[in-house]
Symmetry: C2
């Protein structure tokens, strides 16, 4: 889930000054409503040393009513705690109805620092994963709202912050030998963190990753996330008990128009000259043909998923990928709205049916991601359904991965202006005009809603076993070569994967 995180995201002073006070006020009101509705809330902070957990919590407390929350700083367990099951010290701290519990570090220490520092056995942290998911599910089923933050900074940024701290005579005690030791283990921790986020990001208690390089961006995103989560919790409670005495108006959490996101940082100026394009494409296609045979020989299935804006160039891109392949070894499946039997089954059913045989390559032109894109935005499924889908899709792809499947997922990105230009072109060039429909224009009007859905999708369904690749699509030539090369890399990695189940015959 960290692959697609853009640590360079920041917020302007103006936006910050405008937004933060409003969000603080929203939170104050929401706390009141949560108290009166008897909604328990857990907010937990995990993240790198010096990533700003302490500052985030101070900011949070600023406007909260102190009778309604409790901060729990978590460090190594004391003897009394070691004498009980590891969740004991957290179970005893869960908030009562209407209370907010804020955890500065949490039960995740068990599968993180305690794992790396070998304070618990592999058996123990393996079991802890299951126990943590069960613990959180039990609380959420009981009505608790759980908000989990991972504050992310780069190793370089961490070093900078440590150094800066050390220069300050009042702050330097904060940087310990232990901190530097962990700093040197950044890569190990990164891997362990990835696993933790993947295995415990559930639909009932998802992680939110905070790009924490920029203080303003960090604070605002944290407040926004908490406000929205509490509001969603209140709504669930209100729907359940229509007769509830809580008569408060639903407040509108401050909308942050054009909050920067990973999509803004895509470098759409990347291009490739036609000569260079032809040379690189051909080289890639030849290699892909060789790899197609390797896949067949090793009975390794490959899935390439194409998602992207209308007119982003999916069709042409897929054509270049498959152009040189042996047609007996691959298939392209275009996905439109479900029809007939597809409509009477689970939304994943039709994709299960279309899975490639071991050794074959399947390209999907649009895919199961429709659930959290078009179905979400057009209201073809309920909010509960699309929220659940993030987890369902991650599970689905994990099932494929366990079988040995290589999964490549492309988001073909273009600018809104580029889309308009392509629409206009389609209108005028006759042989392309069939591609442009009224629906395309309607979708275009919902650009902002789609944009939000894409950002969610990229973060929440990018996994180590099925990562997203954002393809800079304004230059089609660039996009095609990038796609071909991404697939090549993924297949090579798949062939070398150590735990890939071997199958022949």
């Amino acid at each position: 889930m960290l692959e697609t995180v853009d640590l360079s995201l920041k917020l302007s002073k103006e936006d910050y000054k405008q937004w933060l006070p409003r969000l603080k006020e929203d939170l104050r009101i929401l706390q009141q409503q949560a108290r009166e509705a008897g909604l328990p809330v857990i907010i937990l902070f995990e993240g790198w040393d010096a990533s700003g957990k302490g500052d985030s919590i101070s900011q949070l407390l600023d406007r909260l009513d102190p009778r309604g929350f409790r901060v729990h700083p978590i460090s190594a367990p004391i003897q009394e705690e070691l004498y009980r099951p590891f969740l004991w010290r957290f179970w005893t701290k869960v908030p009562g109805r209407g209370q907010i519990a804020i955890f500065d570090r949490s039960w995740y220490g068990r599968v993180h620092v305690e794992r790396v520092d070998k304070i618990c056995t592999p058996d123990e942290w393996h079991q802890a994963y299951q126990e943590i998911n069960e613990f959180e599910r039990q609380l959420v089923d009981d009505g608790t709202v759980i908000v989990k933050f991972w504050l992310h900074i780069s190793q370089k940024e961490q070093k900078r912050r440590f150094r800066q701290c050390e220069k300050d005579r009042y702050m330097k005690w904060k940087v310990t030998k232990e901190d530097w030791k962990h700093h040197k283990q950044y890569d190990t921790y990164l891997q362990v963190t990835e696993e933790m986020l993947e295995r415990t990001s559930t639909h009932y208690a998802p992680w939110t990753i905070i790009e924490a390089t920029d203080r303003r961006y960090r604070r605002v995103k944290i407040f926004k996330t908490i406000c929205e989560a509490i509001q969603a919790g209140l709504n669930r409670k209100r729907t359940k008990a229509a007769t509830h005495e809580d008569t408060h108006e639903q407040i509108e959490v401050t909308a942050l128009k054009d909050m920067p996101s990973v999509l803004d940082r895509v470098d759409l100026s990347l291009t490739l000259e036609p000569d260079e394009y032809r040379r690189q494409l051909l080289r890639g296609q030849v290699r892909l043909r060789e790899l197609e045979y390797e896949c067949f020989k090793h009975r390794m299935p490959v899935i390439a998923v194409y998602e992207g804006w209308d007119a982003a160039g999916k069709g042409g891109n897929i054509k270049r990928v498959t152009q040189n392949l042996d047609p007996r070894g691959y298939s392209v499946t275009p996905i439109a709205a479900p029809t007939g039997d597809e409509k009477t089954h689970h939304y994943l059913w039709r994709f299960w049916k279309q899975l490639p045989k071991a050794g074959h390559i399947a390209v999907f032109d649009r895919s199961w991601y429709g659930r959290i894109m078009v179905e979400r935005i057009e209201g073809f499924c309920t909010e509960a359904e699309w929220r659940r889908a993030f987890q369902e899709i991650n599970e689905f792809e994990r099932h494929l991965y366990h079988f040995g499947t290589v999964i490549v997922k492309f988001w073909l990105h273009i600018s809104k202006e580029e889309q308009l230009a392509r629409f206009e072109e389609r209108k005028t060039i006759e042989y392309k005009s069939y591609k442009l429909t009224d629906e395309d224009w309607r979708n275009r009007e919902k650009w902002d809603a789609y944009r939000e859905a894409v950002v969610d999708m990229l973060q929440r369904t990018s996994t180590t076993y099925a990562p997203w690749t954002v393809v800079e699509g304004n230059c089609k030539l660039w996009a095609r070569v990038k796609a071909v090369e991404t697939i090549i890399d993924a297949i090579e990695k798949g062939l070398n994967r150590e735990d890939r189940p071997e199958m022949t015959g």
Copy 2:
């Protein structure tokens, strides 16, 4: 979950003749309603060879509309299926809305016969557990009703049936060498089955164990279970969409008054003479005192849970267990209705808080089982809540077990007549009269409802790591000695447990 199964259960011809046709008619109507409501239903049969899966399915089809169901016999996967992830062949067979899919064997082969016969790798069946639970959860979240049967017979009964088959010239082809091989591996399979039932009995897709020795009993219990499950599914759908066009009357599934259960087979005539009682009790108490010290030395926590009918003798029993113990090493916690802070937290919270320190013994006089007993029957929690609680409690106890805790659970059983006699005695003997309240008389009126809840509890929360012991309680002396000896056995087993996490200091 198989510890408390009573394979001697049977049904009289009269009851059978009265009930089965009615249940078949119920099912016919429910099928119609499910079709019109668009409810997908999965019914799957697993169980020992010759336990009656085939006959059960034939019976089922008898009155069903053939346009609405499909039977899927599952055997070893063919090449096409091996070329896909293992769930592929099941995903492609899931029923559409309004359809019924009946599986004769199923995806559970992966964690059962394929595991024992080493057809898949340990990695594969380990992962399969997770994938199966996710698969079923995804379907249930989408509205599917899943009914899972394990048809249980003893090894001896299986042998008898094989032999009988072999004597019949038209049937003998059915008993293969493979069958006899599996028969000899009965104990291995029993263990694997236990694990399978425990790890995949979820609140959304629980297993139902069918005592399959008696054909009549088997058939009736299967029909009753399916009818109730479909009805519950229809109710959920109706509640969700109050505006649903389905206008059918809710049918009353035929009530089976006094359907035999494991509680009827408890031998309440067991008694102990006072002399023998004193001798055995003292011996047990001395041993328990030694073991108390062993527990302390090894820092192994012990939990003993007492549940039972009012006036079953819990208090006196607990007294005899603890009489000779060092008071610094044990505690007795009586559980009444939650008060104050307990009421504003998750129902398990107060039990987490009361967990014994490693090395100590905690006796609970009533417990978390209140959730699925008094709270269920008195409506102190919703149906969704107590149905969920079976899984939550199993998880809770598994968390304790992982920590090394020994868990002993007693159901103190007495007859309804014996209870009356004890109530009357309490009324007349002054120093006992405080024990008898109006509530006791009210509970007594709900004997049948409690009986059903107890049977559910015994089956669904008896696990290998926290099994129930039913104590024959009409003779208090017998009950006390049995409790003491059960605790002794459990502690000794715990001390010898191979994977118990060692903790000292």
